[in-house]
């Protein structure tokens, strides 16, 4: 079963614009991760944010996490045609003593299309 829901399901923008994708989840987590999947390729890890973090940056990516609302957002700034892909959020449950089970529960993904 899917843990999270991504919103929107599909997003179409012009090159240079920003893209924002949202993810909601249902149970408590240790961390939340975002992955990208290009057509015909495997999943590529983008960024990991722990449950005690609120915001994280990596290059043109900015991720926020609101554990009170059980939601996260991924912002891609100055998008490029090469950013065209499906984006998935995935959550890892907390284990005992602040650890994390590695098993990831994925959302259904947002399909991002960036037009040149």
């Amino acid at each position: 079963s899917q843990q999270g829901e991504e919103d929107p399901q599909a997003l179409s923008i012009q090159e240079g614009e920003n893209a924002t994708m949202n993810c909601s989840y249902k149970t408590s987590i240790n961390n939340l991760q975002w992955y990208r999947q290009n057509s015909g390729r495997g999943l590529v890890h983008l960024i990991l944010i722990r449950s005690n973090e609120r915001e994280k940056h990596s290059g043109r990516l900015r991720v926020t996490l609101d554990t009170s609302k059980k939601s996260s957002s991924l912002l891609i700034t100055a998008s490029r045609a090469a950013d065209t892909a499906s984006y998935f959020c995935a959550t890892a449950k907390p284990g005992a003593g602040g650890t994390s089970y590695g098993k990831l529960t994925f959302g259904q993904g947002t399909i991002l299309t960036v037009h040149p």
Binding site: S1, Q2, N30, N31, Q33, Y35, R41, G42, L43, V44, H45, L48, R50, F88, A90, A92, G95, A96, G98, T99, S100, Y101, G102, K103, L104, T105, F106, G107, Q108, G109
Partner: protein, 117 residues
């Protein structure tokens, strides 16, 4: 270094056939995961190995699915008597950290696309 590799990349099977899917994780990675991804969906967890021990197989959909990692490196996912609903992409991922070790990044292979006719 080399990433996670999977073979075959594509597999067509007739209903009722047995199939075996192989995963070569990143060398030295302790953890190995199998996921199933149906068309248009996110991946769903199947099973997990820490070294050669299968610690979680809660996601395997039926007893037709069997996975092994006998020497703690290469893993094989076997599906017996394939059904049409088994058609999906099967993804393998590995991680350098063990179960419960803390937040970990998983590195995914390209997947095996299985089509059951």
């Amino acid at each position: 270094g080399a990433g996670v590799s999977q073979s075959p990349r594509y597999k067509v099977a007739k209903r009722g056939q047995d199939v075996a899917l192989r995963c070569d994780p990143i060398s030295g990675h302790v953890s190995l995961f199998w996921y199933q991804q149906a068309l248009g969906q996110g991946p769903e967890f199947l099973t997990y190995f820490q070294n050669e021990a299968q610690l979680d197989k809660s996601g395997l959909p039926s007893d037709r699915f069997f996975a092994e990692r006998p020497e703690g490196s290469v893993s094989t996912l076997k599906i017996q008597r394939t059904q049409q609903e088994d058609s999906a992409v099967y993804l393998c991922a590995s991680s350098s950290r063990g179960w419960g070790a803390g937040a970990q990044t998983q590195y995914f292979g390209p997947g095996t696309r299985l089509l059951v006719l």
